[in-house]
Amino acid sequence: MSDHEPPAPQDAPETPDPHAQGGGGSAHGHDHEHHGPDHLAHHFDSLEQQTEANKLGMWACLVTEVLMFGGLFLAYAVYRANHFPVFEYCHWFLDTKLGAINTVVLLASSLTMALGVRAAQLGQQKLLLVMLIATFMGGVGFMGIKSVEYSSKFSHELWWGQGNLYYPVAKKNAYYDKTVNENLGPDQPRQAWTEADRTYRIYELENYYFNYKKGVDWFTPHYIPPEYRVDPKDYAYHGGPADPPPAPAVSVTAPSASARAAADPQDDAQHAAPQPVVGLAGMTSSDIGSPAYGPSGVSTALGDVAIEGLEPDHGHRTHYTWDTLPEAERERVHIFFQIYYAMTGLHGIHVVVGMGLIGWLIFRAAAGAFGPTNFDAVEIVGLYWHLVDLIWIFLFPLLYLIH
């Protein structure tokens, strides 16, 4: 256009001459007011070049995402390969149904995102808007289900960090000393865990989750229903004194009770019942260490609490319980949850960021900003969203489908 003229002395970054070069030059800028040189940054020659560069840049960013999650997959693989019993044991605590539903939700939102990109390329403004909103809702659904999952884990004291039930007891107590006990008055009882408290809670969780996995309930509720509570008598059968010790004056309270109460205040019925934990406080870790408790290597069912899941013929070749887990691996059980939270948490952060980006696209799309010559933003956010989906495709079998 202006090849042979001296350039016009203007400060605008777009010059008309880039369009003289490249096949993209004829493709735009004729009849749509939103198309044309507006979308072309001054340092690119053509829209094609600009789109290619944007996509290339985004792919380079996606490489960094893959490598970043690669680090977490590495941590996962190292612990899984070297401490498989922990992973085999812990998979009971993750909810395959919710994981599968979330997979489908994310796949569906990936489809709508891909359709959204297509709509932008074809200039179908309304369809684009609908697809972006659907994708956004997919993100909402995913995070919603994720939060249900997380909160049920939290209510069962399967937190990350020191709050995890499986955290080594001495370290857990050091943590409670720092966070809880130092704020207590002089006459208030200290909160501290004993091995016995913790083992009891672990049995209760096992009892519940092992049955849950058998298809008893559809969703993990925030409390353990009464039918899965372990009676102290059963616990005692399991190696403790023949008769449960009389409830002592409460000098030690397992934080589990208060934690559960805090997590689920509306569930009065559950907490109105006397807490069996109190009665166990008299047990000592030496009881746990006695031969009847010890890691016998034999898959023992939990006494006369019938847990079908523990029977060897239910399809799983080996099945670890807290009792049969090798002693050294017990200290590592919490690491599974740390890795689980690190992986799903980082993934969740990515979903939230993606939702933010899609929200921004929705506003732009509602203003009609995208069209056949200007869909790079939609495409790039789409690539990001698909990558988030892609990572979940690996997280799902690795975390939820451990066999």
């Binding site: 090849d3 380079a60 680090g71």
Partner: protein
């Protein structure tokens, strides 16, 4: 020109005009502080990076001089100002020296300053592919720097720059701020890398093939590959360390069932390639300078280009040599030892090709060339001593001694710093449109070169005799080594301040720089000094960047101008006379 297929002569390398006013230059293109802080111009961003990087270099350098001063006598030398004891004060100083120099200075120095400035110019582009990301990279760098300043004023850091667990999760110093700072700096590095990859792929002129790019582009490309492949692993490492520190998640803590060696694997998977982030751009800068100042086509273009890629790739499979004594298994030790030695191959290819480029060239010993030649010297010493450390049995002896300190200072400081200074001198006229004082430049080079070797060569000997690193005190038999090293560091510091003085004097009083003071032929020498906002008046085509036949020295402007084939002697090749008889004009042809 077989490798570098048909080359237009310099007179017809330009195509369509760009929207550039006569006399426009990027420094005066627009006025005001905001026009700098919010600029999208890669040249201004490079300049701002330079300011920041030099400040952090000063900070790290102050720590270095303090460290050396502490070690000039046995026992306590400096007053105890911070930390629990004077020894812990020493620990904090070497940690902050290492962390600031590594994360804030060396990693961004050449890519973010010289790369940012020169890459679009060398490609004939108007800017990098993503100017906004480029600016964001700068602010990520500033953000990371703020975190480190926070570390400085809030209890320091005494883990060593490597943050090894479990000490880093138990020390009372401010590890979380440092990890977050390094995390943010990682973003800065990644964004630069993404930009460079996209720019090199998409913004070359149509007739600039891959093998017509200046070698600095190859080096920056290889660097960018490392930046996007390795840096995210550092990011996740630091996030896990942060979580470990805040919540004691125990993945790396043996007391909680974790695996501390795993942390070292995580860390070195990034940090060994990061060593090549530091050195590869330096290799590229050296390739440019050596050829220009030898007035001779670079020897073995393709070998140098591919050796950059090879170093980048080998860099990913050798990290275990940092862990020979860490409890890594013997099988992997042996494998890593072998692979580490393989890095010597592409490194040696480069050195030999530079020497071959210089061979029978008409060498101009200007300041950039002195730095480049100093680079070859230091890089060779650093590289060869690396072989001792790559060998399993000698490494057991040398591990964590001053031998290691001397080795990595030779490759990281000696080489990268010298290439950075050489590159800054080389492109100084282009950046600022002013010439520095050559005499002062040479004096400064002499001081830095002597000071550097004095400081660090003696450390090889001290280390091989058993002086351990990271100790605040030493046995009497090591005293003289430390005295000499400390005195050398003072000479080095004086030399570096002399460099700074030289630059400032150049900026203030230097004569106007010609467009091409050195006779280089890569595209940046075809535009004004300083270049206009859009870099060129007209879109340039690709040229053979190492063909110097078309330039001749013009005494009146103290620079090179394009030879007029009508008037000038066709055999004339520049300032230094005729081509040598029997010498092919472009030795690179032999690798066709």
């Amino acid at each position: 020109m077989s490798v570098l297929s048909p080359t237009p002569t310099p007179t017809d390398i330009f195509g369509k005009p760009r929207d550039v006013k006569p006399g426009d230059d990027y420094i005066n293109h627009s006025k005001g502080l905001m026009s700098w802080l919010l600029t999208l111009d890669h040249k201004r961003i490079g300049l701002m990076y330079m300011g920041g990087v030099c400040l952090t270099f000063l900070l790290g350098g102050v720590f270095a001089v303090l460290l050396r001063t502490e070690l000039i006598w046995g026992g306590q030398t400096l007053p105890h100002v911070f930390g629990n004891s004077w020894e812990s004060q020493y620990n904090q100083m070497f940690t902050l020296h290492g962390a600031v120099m590594t994360f804030l200075f060396i990693i961004p120095a050449i890519p973010a300053v010289i790369g940012n400035f020169a890459l679009p110019l060398m490609l004939g582009a108007k800017d990098v592919a993503f100017p906004r990301l480029n600016l964001m990279s700068l602010y990520c760098w500033f953000g990371g720097a703020v975190f480190f300043v926070w570390v400085l004023v809030s209890g320091g850091l005494d883990t060593g720059w490597t943050f090894y667990t479990p000490y880093s999760t138990t020390t009372s110093t401010n590890v979380p701020a440092a990890t977050l700072g390094a995390f943010v700096l990682g973003f800065s590095s990644i964004l630069t890398g993404v930009n460079f990859i996209a720019s090199i792929h998409m913004l070359r002129p149509r007739d600039m093939g891959w093998f017509k790019m200046p070698l600095l582009m190859w080096a920056l490309y290889a660097t960018a590959v490392i930046q996007i492949l390795a840096t995210p692993v550092l990011a996740i490492t630091l996030l896990l360390l942060f979580a470990e520190r805040i919540m004691q998640i125990g993945i790396f803590d043996p007391a909680l069932g974790g695996d501390p060696v795993l942390f070292q694997h995580f860390f070195w998977f990034y940090s060994h390639p990061a060593v090549y982030i530091m050195i590869l751009p330096a290799l590229g800068v050296t390739s440019e300078i050596i050829s220009v100042f030898s007035r001779k086509h670079i020897f073995g273009y393709k070998f140098i280009a591919f050796s950059s890629i090879a170093i980048a790739l080998f860099g990913f499979i050798v990290w275990g040599h940092h862990m020979f004594t860490s409890g890594q298994s013997v099988y992997i030790n042996a494998l890593f030892s072998l692979l580490t030695m393989s890095v010597a191959i592409p490194s040696a290819i480069k050195v030999f090709n530079w020497l071959a480029t210089m061979w029978r060239g008409s060498i101009r010993l200007d300041t950039p060339m002195l730095y480049a030649m100093g680079f070859i010297w230091l890089f060779t010493i650093g590289g060869l001593t690396g072989l001792f450390l790559a060998t399993l049995n000698t490494d057991i002896h040398f591990h964590d001694t001053y031998f290691v300190v001397a080795h990595f200072h030779y490759v990281m400081v000696g080489s990268t710093l010298f290439a950075f200074l050489g590159g800054m001198y080389h492109w100084f006229p282009k950046m600022f449109g002013k010439m520095y004082d050559e005499r002062h430049g040479k004096i400064a080079w002499t001081l830095t070169f002597i000071g550097f070797n004095l400081t660090f060569f003696i450390q090889f000997i001290a280390g091989s005799r058993g002086m351990p690193r990271r100790y605040a005190d030493f046995l009497p038999q090591f005293h003289w080594y430390h005295v000499i090293s400390t005195l050398g560091s003072y000479v080095l510091a004086v030399g570096l301040f002399w460099v700074l003085y030289n630059w400032i004097q150049g900026l203030r009083k230097g004569p106007q720089a010609p467009a091409n003071p050195w006779g280089g032929n890569s595209l940046e020498w075809h535009t004004n000094s300083p270049p206009p906002h859009l870099n060129f008046d007209r879109d340039p085509h690709g040229v053979d960047p190492y063909r110097y036949d078309d330039w001749k020295w013009d005494e009146s402007i103290q620079g090179y101008v394009i030879r007029d084939p009508e008037k000038d002697d066709p055999a004339y090749t520049g300032a230094d006379g005729d081509p040598l008889p029997g010498e092919p004009a472009t030795p690179a042809e032999s690798h066709h």
